[in-house]
């Protein structure tokens, strides 16, 4: 694994590049779609499509095995955050049934230089992360829902992304992997 991480390090980029690229993407979408709700939906879809590809990269580079409970899953998504966004979110707010939890991000590279104008209060700027989490987990046969609860862009103290486990996609599990 050390070998994999050194290889990964060599491709680090300045987070501002990501912030600016993502910012221009969202700005363009707001211009094109006009309705912020549509932008939210598109961002989620975009994230989903990224997630279903990115998960292979994560699995190949970390060599992790299948998760057997949601705590395990949360840990792994946490390390994926560190790998792809360079931040380590806290996992908290577990539901009593243990099927829901939150990621708390005190800083979010996607929003570093961003202020939301008043007419875009319904825009969920980081919705791409929710989509990516959903897409990635779907590829490992976990159906989840993910949404933003708190948003620093809307005056909250940190960004909170909630993940809810819906079900395991039994029929999608590849043979010999159950």
């Amino acid at each position: 694994m050390s070998r994999a991480s050194t290889r990964f390090d060599t491709k680090k980029v300045n987070s501002e590049l990501v912030t600016l690229t993502y910012g221009s993407l969202v700005a363009q979408m707001v211009k094109d779609l006009e309705n912020p709700e549509d932008v939210n939906k598109q961002l989620e879809r975009l994230g989903y499509n990224m997630g279903i590809r990115l998960v292979e990269d994560f699995l190949a580079k970390t060599g992790t095995g299948r998760c057997l409970d949601l705590k395990d899953t949360a840990d792994k998504i946490q390390s994926a955050f560190r790998m792809y966004l360079g931040v380590q979110p806290n996992v908290s707010n577990w539901s009593p049934a243990g099927d829901e939890f939150s990621f708390l991000l005190d800083s979010n590279p996607l929003t570093d230089l961003v202020e939301l104008p008043d007419d875009l209060k319904s825009l969920r700027y980081c919705n791409i992360i929710c989509g990516a989490v959903r897409g990635a987990l779907e590829m490992v046969q976990l159906d989840v829902q993910s949404w933003i609860v708190q948003d620093q862009l809307k005056g909250d103290s940190n960004t909170e992304i909630r993940v809810k486990f819906i079900r395991k996609l039994e029929d999608a599990i590849p043979a010999g992997e159950e």
Partner: protein
Amino acid sequence: MVIYGVYIVSKSGGLIFNYDHNIPKIETEKTFSYPLDIKLQYENKKVVVEFGQRDGIHVGHMLYAINGIPVTGRQLDDGRDVFEVLDNKDNYPINIKFGRPKMTTNEKIFLASMFYPLFAIASQLSPEPKSSGIEVLEADTFKLHCFQTLTGVKMMVVAEPTQAGIDILLRRIYEIYADYALKNPFYSLEMPIRCELFDINLKTVLEQVEKSGISNV
């Protein structure tokens, strides 16, 4: 250190990538006089040696060319039938080229999709619950190593039976797949991989393995 080929099978069982790495070409050319002492047979759209193995011509080898004219199916490229030519005494002495049959892409796709249910059956036949599918399939001339990712994609490497450490190579191939196929925005999932960067990097790794061993991958 010989790796014969790499195959990738998608989640739904279709062959999405195959690469023949190092299959030595075996071809024998020989001049025969009448009557021909090798029994030939037409099967699976190939003229193959049925009986009478000698001088490097083995049972199962197929007919490549007669007097330098290539053979397609049971026809010479100038339109004559192979068996008619061979039965005609006037054509002798005759020069015939034999060789190991090559698998066509269709046959590879067919075989790859056959491995898929085999893999599933293996995991169900297991006396222990929660068994994996086939990881290594061993024969006297090769060993097939299979690695299934958590998302259901199978990476397969066919190598010499004595070859150790293929599991590391399989993981490396998975990394290359994640990097150069999946990160290519114009590659659609589940479709055959036609990405040049992927080919180049895979070849580099296989050459590395061949030259300096698996530990350096």
